[in-house]
Subunit: 289 residues, 2 copies
């Protein structure tokens, strides 16, 4: 995206832990953090808060809303909720609703966090502690699902970890060491309540629900053009999810294109640059036929 031509607005979601109000925010009344009392939020809530920001910034209409994964869900929800306020939506590595396998993986991650002895039902800040072990293991699990199997095989295969750089004596393989390292890093910087809240928002996303599960009906009022993109190595949100959006878009007679991109990083591919990916986004943004 050429920032000489377009203003880019990028924001944190309510409930997160890197800027916006979230579970770590101190309530002025009680002088205590929200902790587990922070309300559940949904993708629709996020889009609605973004709409408030849009009005505050006096923006009439977005040229494009773009996002990957949970961000792709928000882009799609924008097109549904505010058809007159958005021209294009780039829905990348997303899904019109996640599968029970995805929900199950999210639930295991949450279970791991909740059962950390330092979680204290979410009120760990008041106890001056942090459920780091739980957050670390949850992220290790997440990390596996974000990567593709082929990528893991190429990077690690079955190579044994060099004993000198082992993070723990119980580790045998490089891939274990890598996950331990990544999980540890994450647990230092992320908030456990935010993690739970965000995965719950992902589980709950289901715009077709109000239309008795009929995605086509739900899409009928969309006016924006859609770009729907998936990555070939993504097994968490495989191309079938994106194709479901595309097929519903065709049936609803709205403008949309679907593209399957090459990507070597599984679900995480949307975070990495490639010429193909960049070209697809750029021409979608600049082409107004």
């Amino acid at each position: 995206i050429d920032t000489q031509k377009y203003f880019v607005v990028s924001l944190n979601n309510i409930g997160g832990c890197h800027g916006s109000t979230g579970p770590t925010t101190i309530l002025s009344k009680t002088k205590k953090p929200f902790g587990s009392s922070f309300p559940e939020v949904s993708v629709i809530d996020w889009v609605n808060t973004q709409y408030l920001l849009m009005n505050y910034l006096k923006i009439e209409c977005w040229e494009m809303v773009a996002g990957g994964s949970l961000g792709g869900m928000q882009a799609l929800q924008w097109a549904i909720s505010y058809p007159n306020k958005i021209k294009k939506a780039a829905v990348i590595a997303a899904s019109p609703r996640i599968s029970s396998q995805n929900i199950a993986l999210n639930e295991v991650a949450r279970e791991i966090i909740r059962k950390d002895e330092n979680f204290h039902d979410g009120n760990y800040m008041q106890n001056n502690t942090k459920p780091k072990k739980g957050l670390k293991a949850a992220r290790m699990l997440g990390h596996i699902t974000y990567l593709s199997e082929s990528n893991m095989s190429k990077r690690f295969g079955r190579r044994l970890q060099d004993p000198v750089t082992k993070l723990d004596e119980k580790i045998n393989y490089e891939v274990e060491n890598y996950l331990q390292y990544k999980g540890e890093q994450f647990s230092e910087t992320f908030d456990a309540n935010s993690y739970i809240l965000m995965t719950k928002a992902m589980d709950g996303f289901d715009p077709a629900k109000k239309f008795n599960g009929d995605l086509v009906k739900c899409f009928k009022k969309i006016k924006a053009r859609l770009l729907i993109a998936s990555f070939n190595s993504d097994w968490l949100f495989p191309k079938e999810y994106s194709m479901e959006i595309q097929i519903a878009a065709i049936k609803a007679e709205i403008k949309s294109s679907y593209i399957e991109l090459e990507g070597d990083y599984g679900h995480d591919s949307f975070l990495y640059y490639s010429d193909e990916y960049s070209t697809a986004l750029k021409s979608f943004l600049e082409n107004n036929e």
Copy 2:
């Protein structure tokens, strides 16, 4: 298997927790359980102990060694280690070596267990406690990988859990409730050290390693006929793994057949009866061309 015609010998593995000597066994010297001091074991160790049992039982030659998953690995190892002591090997839902993704998933499960406050470096019995929370979450994760996505979708989809039968107020979906229940059950009956030890044995299985990774060379001395079977819904040990065994068998010029079976339970399918599965095993066992 017609037990009027064949004697079936079925045994627990050393290191397990349902019979054979394992981490919960009390050492006569110290009057304490092995706990984490129980040595690491490998698939080769298991096959060797089974060979001792074979001699003890005065069995000259197995008609067939059959097993699924870690059991399939043992069947294959039997054919490699003792070519004159086995006529047939049924290698079901197995792999000649597991992928880094599998290792990573196993490591996350172990991490969850080890970080349970009640784990005490594996010496929880001495502390009169049990890392049940960790074992439960590890099993929940395992359970997802054993099931197929289609099976989960059919059984649970995105149905919300009935509030009356909720196991925990934080649960939203049926699939979450089911996993919590299954995990809880497992954590009551299984031993955490055994779980760690068994997944390590699975990670370590790699018969081709001694042959510089050349599976064909490794298979050269096999005399047994092989039946190699995978299940169409198994994503943990997909058919590619079984086909790798079959292709190496063909190149090594040993007798083998490969079959992909229908199964609706993912990796767990090998535990369930189907006519097709039963017929395949039966005709393999009874046909001596």
